[in-house]
């Protein structure tokens, strides 16, 4: 009975005690599990600012992408810096700590990319797209640092990923350098994950779990996909990814099991392991249709062990 009230527990309580409709609503109200006036206000504020910013920025991107003939090159080049200055002024006026200020910096960061694209279009600089992305990533780093805004950091990481992929696509042999690219992408996002987790211990604004989960999911998807590709197609290449994967999985288990209790990360880890082990055994042992029964049993056993282990871990944390 001393457990914290949440929707599930309160509804269980209503079921067992046979509460009336009025009593159910009152219990949800007392338990403060449904949003109150202040929560609705914050929700609407965030929703409308985010949607407004997204639509507004997309509108600006299309406006310049249309390449309106009536706009001279100076006007085109002049409009964007004016918009950037206006957004920076807005961020300064509303303070960088406010949501409007953070969204204004996000807007300014997007406009830098549009400016670089228009500049390249007008002067035919001959620069490759990867150069534009690298320039964009480097130019906005100051704003990313001062904004203290998880969405802007995720946007920056997205740009860094795009820069790396485009660099390899446009300057290297795609097939030969595929292995190297995937490893670099994995290491870059892993570094971001580590930095974010360390930062979260010191700064409140970095405690946004959605961002950490998003980076972890992306990192897992890169390393798992690459390892499966390696298992089936690229066994001729050095097994660096195998060693990296083993270290990564063990580190994730150690960190989220003993240091930072987070079951969702352990579940992602288990799911990745199920996929990798199934792929490895499937490649080595499945030669006939009869072998599929063994595969079904292996998946069944792996999933059973994973679920039992995860539930055991959660129980041990609750004690």
């Amino acid at each position: 009975m001393q457990k914290q009230a949440n929707v599930e527990r309160l509804l269980d309580m209503a079921k067992v005690a046979g509460l009336s409709q009025e009593a159910i609503h009152r219990s949800l109200d007392i338990g403060k599990v449904l949003p109150d006036r202040a929560a609705w206000r914050a929700f609407l504020d965030k929703l409308l600012i985010f949607l407004g910013t997204t639509f507004g920025l997309s509108g600006l991107v299309f406006f310049f992408a249309y390449n309106w003939a009536n706009l001279g090159k100076w006007l085109k080049l002049g409009l964007i810096p004016v918009a950037i200055i206006a957004l920076i002024a807005l961020a300064t006026w509303k303070k960088v700590d406010s949501l409007i200020g953070k969204c204004a910096l996000l807007g300014a960061s997007v406009l830098v990319g549009i400016f670089l694209a228009i500049f390249g279009q007008i002067y035919q600089t001959g620069a490759d797209p990867y150069e534009l992305f690298i320039g964009w990533t480097l130019l906005i780093i100051g704003w990313v640092l001062i904004a203290r805004f998880p969405a802007l950091w995720i946007f920056w990481l997205l740009l860094a990923n795009a820069s790396l992929i485009l660099y390899y696509q446009q300057t290297q042999n795609w097939y030969r350098s595929y292995n190297e690219l995937q490893i670099l992408l994995f290491l870059m996002n892993l570094l971001a994950l580590i930095a974010w987790e360390i930062g979260a211990s010191f700064f409140d604004w970095l405690k946004a779990r959605w961002a950490i989960t998003l980076i972890a999911l992306y990192t897992f998807s890169i390393v798992t996909t690459h390892l499966v590709v390696y298992i089936f197609e690229r066994r001729d290449q050095p097994p660096t990814i195998v060693w990296l994967y083993i270290i990564f999985v063990l580190a994730i288990f150690g960190f989220y099991r003993y240091m930072k209790h987070e079951l969702s990360m352990l579940a992602i880890n288990c799911l990745s392991l199920i996929v990798v082990i199934t792929a490895a055994i499937g490649k080595e042992l499945v030669h006939h249709l009869e072998d599929c029964l063994m595969m079904a049993i292996i998946v069944l056993v792996l999933a059973t062990i994973s679920v039992a282990w995860l539930r055991g871990v959660a129980k041990s944390w609750n004690k």
Binding site: L34, L47, G59, F62, A65, A303
Partner: protein, 374 residues
Amino acid sequence: MEQITPDKKISLQMVLDQLKQENLAPADADAKIQTYIESKPDVPNPWYIQVMVGFSAWLAAIFFLIFLIGVFRIEEKSFLVLGLLFCAAACFLKRMPKDVDLFVIFLNQLALIANVTGQVFILIWVGCTFRDETPICLAAIILQLIMLLVYPDKIQRFATPVVIISAIIPILQELSIQFSMHFFIVAVAAGTLAVWLFLFQPFFIKWADYAHPIAYGLILSFLHLLLVSVGEGYEYDRMFKGLVGGCWWPTTVGLMLCFWVLIAHIFRFYKQPLEKLFLIVLLASGVLAWITRESPGILGSIFILVLGFYRSTKLVQALTIIFLAIFVIHYYYFMDVTLLTKSFILMGVAVLLFMTRAFLVCKCCCTKEEKPCI
């Protein structure tokens, strides 16, 4: 009795004490709840573990099906018998008493695999017998309804609306009723809204083990169904053009009405008068619906986002944001106007949203004590 203060975490005991003080809970409620809490196993089973279990069972079932069909060369008529046997075995495994945790999980997984295999076998038999898509879809719907009743499992209950709604689409294609897709999507939206609004009613609480997974299944089905509106190309035209009739505004109008019902319900719940603030929300959503009339996914996602927030479910909100991103990107790329017009429309929407914020958040939502933010 512990006092409830704004910064204190509220326990079940505190809620119950308060209810009893207000004569809203029976005097013997403590004992009943205590007994229930003690009898309920304290095993955490969050949604991501359920996803992992579902994914693994589905993967294992594929291997198992390949093995059975490939090795044994099963005759057509045997599929029905085997299918029924597997479904019965699944129900038996799921319902048999179990003690050891690891064994429970293993048998539950095995039951899920038997369930998937059994259902696939029965559908193969229906396909072989009738050689048509519609009987297969009808059989899938009936099977799901039967398994919902006899197979006590969260994943099955979640999958039921997803499979049924997916199976209705080919039936609609077969019937070739013009504009039927609009009615179907709006009906699913209305059904989803009804289930989520009634979730806190005593009757639904009594059936919460069924109602909650079904409610989540309906959300996923609805968002998934809206993806039809972002499709394009020859195959898409062949499958859906007749059902949709070349335009999407009827769906948007239906969704707008659902959204308005939700807003009215929220206002009633919080005992707010249906006056100025209510009219502003209706007007703003009406304008947004008009602007995005050919992209119903945007209003549909916002509708689910508000519903998810109203019911305090972060999972629904996170899922909806992913779908919203898909719909917004689609809106940018496929509007049938020039880039310049598109850019003006998008900037117009942004201005509308910021103006709505100014009215809603800063003027209307502020109490007298709060300082307006603009």
